[in-house]
């Protein structure tokens, strides 16, 4: 649904995006992570045919971003970093205006507006001037605008920024629902918990270049090493640990706690557990140690910074 190859953008001599490759199938959420100025917004703007790539090519919803720009723009819904609402309009007028620009049928448009305002908790404020909206309400309305024409591709820049926890939850649920309708979603965010919750694929951008790209699990494995499992025992154990299966390493041993680093948990875990139970160990719990996306992100950024420093 979204495909980019060697996508590059220069502003005069400044290299804003450097040879980005993306492949996001339908029904998946790609989260773009990176510090401010990393090139996330420029990448999104190229994918929405606002900026013309200096090099490379990209297709969105099957349309070329350079040669079929109009079709690309009809097929994407974009939530921009600055929502840019018109303060003197109310929400219905605002959505009607964009609905007309997308050539939506007026009767269907009214129903769609009613449904979306209701879904996002804005129905009561439908006649209020947008200038009087709170930040969170504006953000929600901007999201409604982005999905108003029911696009197959959504590009969302910081969709939950400035929202209270309840509204943020509502928007995250909405994104999950939109994904389940087989939409492709690209999400730019600094919120790593949100990324971890929503992402099927994560791309970390630094200085215009994608430094890591893949599923959350594969990224964690790549950056933080094999999965680590923690075993809690009912009592202190100082006996002999049986021979461990291949690909399993004991990394920490405390009185009632054991830590294992396991290459292929699906294969090794049943064998390991069987052997430890055979040893009469009283196992209370055995679970994967929590490794956050934040750790992986910081590891990726630090590694790249170190590489750049050495170069």
């Amino acid at each position: 649904m979204i495909f980019a190859e060697d996508l590059t953008k220069y502003f005069a001599d400044f290299l804003a995006v450097n040879s980005v490759n993306l492949d996001v199938p339908s029904g998946q959420v790609l989260v773009l992570l990176g510090p401010n100025g990393a090139g996330k917004t420029t990448t999104v703007r190229m994918l929405t045919s606002i900026l013309v790539p200096s090099r490379g090519r990209a297709q969105v919803a099957g349309f070329d971003v350079v040669h079929q720009a109009d079709k690309v723009r009809s097929s994407v819904g974009v939530l921009t970093e600055h929502h840019g609402l018109y303060g003197r309009m109310n929400s219905v007028e605002y959505l009607e205006f964009f609905g007309k620009l997308y050539s939506l049928n007026s009767i269907a448009l009214q129903k769609r507006i009613d449904d979306l305002l209701d879904q996002f908790g804005l129905a009561d404020a439908r006649k209020k001037r947008l200038g009087e909206y709170s930040k969170g309400m504006r953000q929600k309305l901007a999201l409604v605008r982005a999905i108003l024409h029911d696009p197959p591709v959504l590009l969302l820049d910081e969709p939950t920024s400035a929202m209270d926890p309840e509204s943020a939850r509502m928007v995250r649920d909405a994104i999950v629902a939109l994904r389940s309708e087989n939409r492709t979603i690209v999400l730019c965010t600094h919120n790593l918990l949100e990324a971890e919750e929503l992402a099927d694929q994560v791309a970390i951008i630094r200085r215009g270049r994608i430094i890591v790209n893949g599923s959350i699990e594969s990224i964690k494995r790549e950056l933080l090493g094999p999965s680590e499992y923690e075993m809690k025992l009912a009592s202190e154990f100082d006996g002999l640990i049986p021979e461990l299966p291949p690909g399993v390493e004991l990394t920490l041993r405390q009185a009632d706690t054991l830590h294992f680093c396991i290459d292929v948990p699906e294969i090794s875990n049943p064998v390991l557990l069987r052997r430890l139970l055979d040893q009469k160990l009283e196992i209370v719990s055995f679970q994967e140690a929590t490794r956050s996306l934040e750790q992986a992100y910081l590891e990726a950024v630090n590694r790249t910074a170190e590489e750049e420093r050495l170069v």
Binding site: F11, A12, R45, T48, S49, I50, L51, V52, D70, R73, S74, V76, V78, T80, E81, H82, H83, G84, L85, Y86, R88, M89, F97, F98, K100, L101, Y102, S103, A142, R145
Partner: protein
């Protein structure tokens, strides 16, 4: 066709509705539409009564259409503010980005905003003028003729479109309303001068000249719209921070265009200058034709504006040349510098006029000079000067001077034409700097040295050659 225009009208409808909710726009417009015409009616009555006392009724008669023009102009001056607000204001508030993400084409967005900036002020302008005319009728003041009123309505309309088109060009160069307001002086000052000129023509009573002004303004507005469209691109609206004065960047663009990749002066003369001349070959052809047209038109005016000369005076021109020779001895540099500086001033004037008119008015100095030359030659021929004598007066220095002036004027025309042509991946600033570099390149490399040589010939050789023909 209508389906293509529909999105533009949707933009216009929203913008107009938004303007009608803004008291900062509504109050001045109401004031200028209703109260100001009444004030002008009162002024006209008082003025007519006053000048009648002294028998100067013609001043009063000319005042009535002049005030109609002023009543029409004041509301359209608001269009400039609206245009800057609607283009740059949206950019500043980031509300333009959702529009750029929509399936609107660039020209639809441009047209929609252009209409929204022109229509409301123009509507209030028409309304104001109508109120003024009705007021005149009620006051039993003689109305201007119907064709004059049509002319003033047209002039007002074209001026509004021209101002808004100019504002769009300015808006493309600014990322804040403040910066745009500063740049708007490039529109306000020429328009103020234009209004002054039109006022003079109004009191002069030569309304035919105003029709020419209408035609000229239509051409200019069309060109400005083309420039606006050529540079009204999504990339340009969002992708660059161009408010910041970046001298390094500007110098880079200018010097690259100026040198054209040449590393030595020889390379520059042998490659870059000929390349530039090839690039402006069509403007050179146009300017050559216009120079010839100017000469012929000038010569044709001899019958309209004949200055009585005695034929004997013409035959005794050698005495005048002798006086010139006495004043300008051979190899005296002052006359050379004086002639050269005079020609240079004309070239600079051409550039200045070209800047404000997309190159169009840049052709005037050459045409005017050729017109004056044609007129003088025609006048002298009418009084007995032969073809050989005429050529003797022009050719020695004209052989170099005229091509030099044609090249300089063609570079100005080219600069205007380039601005009005879409150039992918280049801003107006980049295009303008490159065009300026071309002009400077031709001036430094060709025109200035050629004009200096021509001035030398004109001061030292032409009078002597002329002496030979007039003995």
């Amino acid at each position: 066709m209508f389906s293509q225009l529909r999105p533009a009208f949707i933009i216009t409808e929203r913008e107009v509705r938004d303007q009608l909710r803004d008291w900062r726009i509504i109050f001045p417009v109401i004031g200028l539409t209703i109260f100001f015409p009444f004030l002008m009616n009162f002024t006209a009555q008082q003025m007519l009564g006053f000048v009648r006392q002294y028998g100067a009724t013609i001043i009063g008669e000319r005042m009535v259409p002049f005030l109609l023009m002023i009543v029409g102009f004041f509301p359209i001056s608001v269009s400039l503010v609206i245009a800057l607000e609607t283009f740059v204001g949206e950019k500043e508030r980031s509300s333009i980005e959702p529009l750029l993400n929509s399936p609107l084409k660039d020209w639809q967005l441009y047209l929609g905003k252009l209409l929204s900036a022109v229509v409301p002020p123009l509507f209030s302008s028409y309304l104001g003028m109508t109120v003024y005319i009705i007021g005149l009728a009620f006051s039993r003041i003689k109305l201007p003729s119907a064709d004059l009123m049509v002319l003033i309505f047209l002039l007002t309309t074209v001026q509004a479109v021209m101002m808004v088109s100019g504002a769009v060009v300015v808006s493309c160069q600014a990322t804040s309303v403040r910066a745009a307001n500063l740049l708007a002086s490039f529109i306000i000052i020429p328009v103020a001068l234009l209004i002054q000129g039109e006022s003079v023509v109004m009191f002069w009573g030569n309304y035919r000249t105003l029709w020419w002004a209408v035609i000229g303004l239509i051409v200019l507005a069309g060109l400005l719209m083309r420039v606006g469209l050529a540079h009204f691109r999504r990339e340009e609206l969002l992708g660059r921070e161009i408010d910041v004065l970046n001298l390094h960047w500007g110098w880079g663009i200018f010097s690259k265009a100026f040198t054209g990749g040449a590393h030595t002066p020889k390379d520059w003369y042998l490659k870059t200058i000929p390349q530039t001349l090839r690039r402006i070959r069509y403007p050179i052809l146009i300017m050559t034709i216009l120079a010839a047209v100017g000469f012929v038109l000038g010569a044709a005016q001899v019958h309209n504006f004949d200055i009585p000369l005695k034929d004997t005076n013409v035959q005794n021109l050698n005495q005048s040349f002798q006086r010139v020779l006495n004043m300008w001895p051979l190899f005296s540099y002052q006359p050379v510098l004086a002639i050269w500086w005079q020609n240079m001033r004309v070239m600079l004037l051409a550039m200045l006029l070209g800047v404000f008119s997309m190159g169009i008015l840049g052709v005037i100095p050459l045409m005017a000079s050729m017109g004056v030359t044609g007129y003088l030659i025609g006048l002298l021929s009418l009084h007995g000067m032969s073809l050989n004598q005429s050529l003797g007066l022009i050719l020695p220095h004209g052989f170099i001077e005229i091509p030099a002036v044609i090249i300089a004027s063609a570079a100005v025309l080219q600069a205007g034409a380039i601005l009005a042509t879409p150039t992918p991946d280049k801003t107006v600033g980049e295009v303008w700097l490159a065009a300026l570099a071309d002009w400077v390149k031709l001036m430094v490399g060709l025109v200035i040295p050629l004009l200096l040589i021509a001035a030398g010939i004109e001061a030292w050789v032409t009078p002597r050659v002329a002496m030979l023909f007039f003995h």
